[in-house]
């Protein structure tokens, strides 16, 4: 598993759990697209559901449910947080 200072990649966030964005691991247009979607540092992200085949994964990002493919979600470093 990708353990980076106790942080994990968003693609590994179990459904139902939340995390906050620590860093984006990509550059250029793709990084920019993430930021435009509201994936800025410290943003709360919740893994909502898996598609029937397990990929893509739907996340709640700033009140909107957005589906991202696993390889893209693995470009986002997050810190899992406890949230009731």
């Amino acid at each position: 598993m990708s353990c980076l200072n106790g942080n994990i990649l968003l693609s590994k966030l179990p459904v139902g759990k939340s995390g906050i964005v620590i860093d984006l691991l990509n550059e250029g247009d793709k990084r920019r697209r993430f930021l435009d979607l509201g994936l800025t540092p410290n943003t709360l992200v919740k893994a909502e559901r898996l598609s029937p085949s397990g990929n893509p994964i739907a996340f709640n990002i700033r009140g909107t449910v957005l589906a991202l493919r696993k390889d893209e979600a693995s470009k986002i470093l997050i810190k899992v947080i406890d949230r009731r």
Binding site: D29, R32, L35, S51, S53, P56, R62, G63, V65, R69
Partner: protein
């Protein structure tokens, strides 16, 4: 459209927007995130029935309409829904360019009040471009249901612009918006985003350079921000303008030097706007969590579940087809009876008028019969299929289909949004081709266009339904034949989807090599459909539109086909001569020459393939009255049709070259003939191979 167009400078850029002749009208832009009810508001204000669907990326073209208020004429432009207008997708560019260069006097930003923080991001971005912004705080009813309370007054003060609570679908707040627009002289004092000291000092440095060279009405703050953000288009435009004004590259070089010391500062700009939005949303929103029953989640648990996700999808499709077949059966028969009874009256009339035989032939046997067929075969299924499909669209089910299927498309090297464009293809492939604009990657867009034709459009559905009913449904006891026919239609559609995936994969590793690009899909909340509007919209907009297109094509086609079938050379009709010529080849495909002729003559629109075929057969076996599907069955069987002919006829219809309209649309979208021709060749090869193989297999086993 695009910033590359020759223009007179940033402040003077005039795009060729289609309504520039209406200079006396006040132009209003309508912006907003996807799924905020923008198009609903637009329809309500203009009365123009633009089609809205509950899935992102519907408005890919600027739709525009007008309204009058207190004696003044206003023109509204509905922009594509976007989360941001900074990035580089086609939709964002369209929205951004219009707000910037379309010179709207007012920009209304429609905001989803259930998710204020995300939506305010766009509001703040637009406020940087223009001062005259009005917020329509929409979906207030949904917010109330979710226990979300928004302090509108406070929001207004914090933003410094008018904020009007609305429920667009019920028309609540629309008059207030119109009033606000009419009374809007200039917005008092919009509170624009204040960035960190670092960014602000950069802005003022660059602004001071720009102010020396640019018109003082130019929004130098915004241009500075865009330059800091590394916006290449704006930079190029600025360069052009400076060169034209004889200033040269010096100011740009100065700016570049300032920026070179501050790399990656673009991130900061985006992040800070979001933080600002977050802060405002926090202050004005109050959430009562006790009210939250998350129905969306419960529904999604079923519709996208590992176990039930796919079966429900197929079942829904099956039920829609079954309802269409069962429901259309009786009205179709009634219509046919009525129209053919009318034909008898026409016969009497023509005899009475002593009309020449050829005129009677062209007008009654050619045009009228083709029309009667097109109407009685197409109208009832469409009037059932379209409302049902629109219902699914309105509910918000289609994005779930894309979500469920994305993995297959990923494996095929393309984009899950392709399934949305395929859904549009069910209505009309030309519409499906246009819908491909929602796919950002040019490679994936092309693949989606090339394969769109493998989804049977409504012009081909009647063929597939009729043949399914005769040759597949007819295999079993009449009690179950509508169910079997529906299953057969579903199987045909599944074959189409499978073909789409296989061909997409094939293209991804051959002609259009590449890796799948990024994919972001919003799963919007389910919305209660407005049944009345669905009926009106799907019947008026879709059914009658498609039917009228079919009728327009059917009239000349009916006449031409009759002439073809009745001009005799050496005692053989022209149609027969062509058909005989094609016959040996057609036989290899398990078809006959006339079937191929019908598909060739049906190029302008697939709707007329069956009528042409019927007329062709009838000219050899006259006096059959085609009043029901049974009569069609007899006619086909009399002309040597077998089960295999039926199957291959359906497959040919499913896979063959796109219709004329689709080809033209593709030519427009790809700006050239290369890809349309490629598509015609590819689909033709596939069709020939598939029908040939099935014919050979059937010869071996049957």
């Amino acid at each position: 459209m695009g910033l590359t167009q020759e223009s007179s400078g940033l402040s003077l850029i005039k795009y060729e927007y289609p309504f520039e002749e209406h200079e006396d009208k006040t132009v209003i832009a309508l912006a907003g995130n996807p799924n905020t009810g923008k198009s609903t508001l637009f329809n309500y204000m203009t009365g123009l029935k633009q089609h809205t669907g509950n899935w992102p990326g519907k408005t890919v073209l600027n739709a525009y309409g007008s309204y009058r208020h207190e004696g003044k004429e206003y023109m509204i432009v509905d922009l594509p829904g976007t989360y941001s207008i900074l990035a580089n997708s086609e939709e964002e560019e369209i929205a951004r360019n219009f707000v910037c260069f379309g010179n709207p006097e007012v920009t209304i930003v429609v905001v989803d009040s259930t998710c204020l923080e995300r939506n305010l991001n766009l509001v703040l971005q637009i406020m940087e471009i223009t001062d005259n912004v009005i917020v329509s705080l929409n979906l207030m009813d949904e917010a109330k249901r979710k226990g979300i309370k928004i302090d509108v007054k406070k929001l207004e003060v914090l933003l410094g612009i008018p904020v009007i609570p609305t429920i667009a679908r019920d028309g609540v707040g629309i008059t207030e918006i119109m009033k606000t627009i009419t009374n809007l002289q200039s917005i008092v004092n919009p509170n624009k985003v204040k960035y960190s000291e670092k960014v602000e000092s950069l802005i003022s440095k660059i602004e001071s350079i720009l102010l020396e060279y640019l018109d003082k009405n130019t929004n130098t703050r915004w241009i500075s921000l865009r330059l800091i953000d590394g916006d290449i288009e704006i930079k190029n435009q600025l360069e052009k303008l400076l060169l034209r004004n004889g200033v040269g590259r010096k100011p740009l070089e100065e700016i570049e030097e300032i920026l070179s010391e501050n790399e990656n500062i673009g991130d900061e700009i985006v992040t800070e706007i979001y933080y600002y939005a977050e802060e405002i949303a926090k202050v004005v929103t109050e959430v009562d969590n006790s009210k939250k029953i998350n129905w969306d989640k419960k529904i999604d648990d079923i519709l996208t579940s590992k176990i039930t996700g796919y079966p429900i999808m197929i079942l829904l499709l099956g039920v829609i087809f079954w309802l269409t077949i069962v429901g259309a059966n009786y009205p179709s028969e009634l219509l046919a009876k009525g129209l053919f009874a009318l034909e008898k009256n026409l016969n009497i009339l023509f005899t009475h008028l002593n009309a020449p035989d050829w005129l009677y032939g062209i007008l009654v046997l050619g045009v009228y019969r083709t029309l009667a067929w097109v109407i009685s075969v197409m109208l009832p299924p469409m009037a059932i299929f379209f409302p049902l499909f629109t219902l699914l669209e309105d509910l918000g089910y289609l994005p779930r289909v894309a979500f469920n299927l994305d993995n297959s498309f990923r494996k095929a090297g393309t984009n899950g949004k392709q399934s949305l464009t395929m859904c549009m293809g069910f209505g009309c492939n030309a519409a499906g081709i246009i819908a491909c604009r929602i796919i950002d990657s040019p490679r994936e867009k092309l693949i989606a266009m090339i394969t769109n034709n493998f989804v049977p459009c409504n012009g081909r559905f009647p063929i597939i339904i009729a043949i399914s009913t005769i040759f597949v449904g007819g295999l079993v006891n009449s009690q179950y034949n509508s169910i079997i026919a529906a299953i057969s239609v579903v199987v045909v559609v599944l074959i189409g989807i499978l073909t789409t995936l296989l061909v997409s994969k094939f293209l991804s590793v051959t002609f259009l090599k590449g890796m799948p690009s990024s994919f972001t899909l919003e799963l919007p909340p389910y919305r209660k459909p407005q049944l009345g509007k669905i009926l009106i919209r799907s019947i008026l907009d879709r059914t009658l539109f498609v039917l009228s297109r079919a009728i327009i094509v059917a009239i000349p086609a009916g006449a031409i086909t009759w002439v073809f079938a009745n001009i005799n050379i050496n005692g053989v009709s022209l149609l027969q001569t062509c058909a005989s010529f094609l016959n040996p080849f057609a036989k290899l495909l398990g078809l006959d020459g006339l079937i191929l002729m019908a598909f060739l003559l049906g190029l302008p629109a697939n709707e007329i393939v069956l009528p042409i075929l019927i007329m062709g057969y009838m000219s050899q076996n006259t006096m059959i009255e085609l009043e029901s599907i049974d009569a069609l069955k007899t006619l086909l069987l009399n002309n040597g049709w077998t089960f295999v002919t039926g199957i291959n006829f359906m497959l040919f219809s499913l896979l063959h070259f796109p219709c004329g309209t689709t080809i033209l649309t593709m030519k427009n979208e790809t700006k050239g003939l290369k890809w349309p021709i490629f598509t015609i060749v590819l689909t033709t090869i596939i069709t020939i191979l598939v029908t040939f193989i099935i014919n050979i297999i059937s010869k071996i086993f049957i």
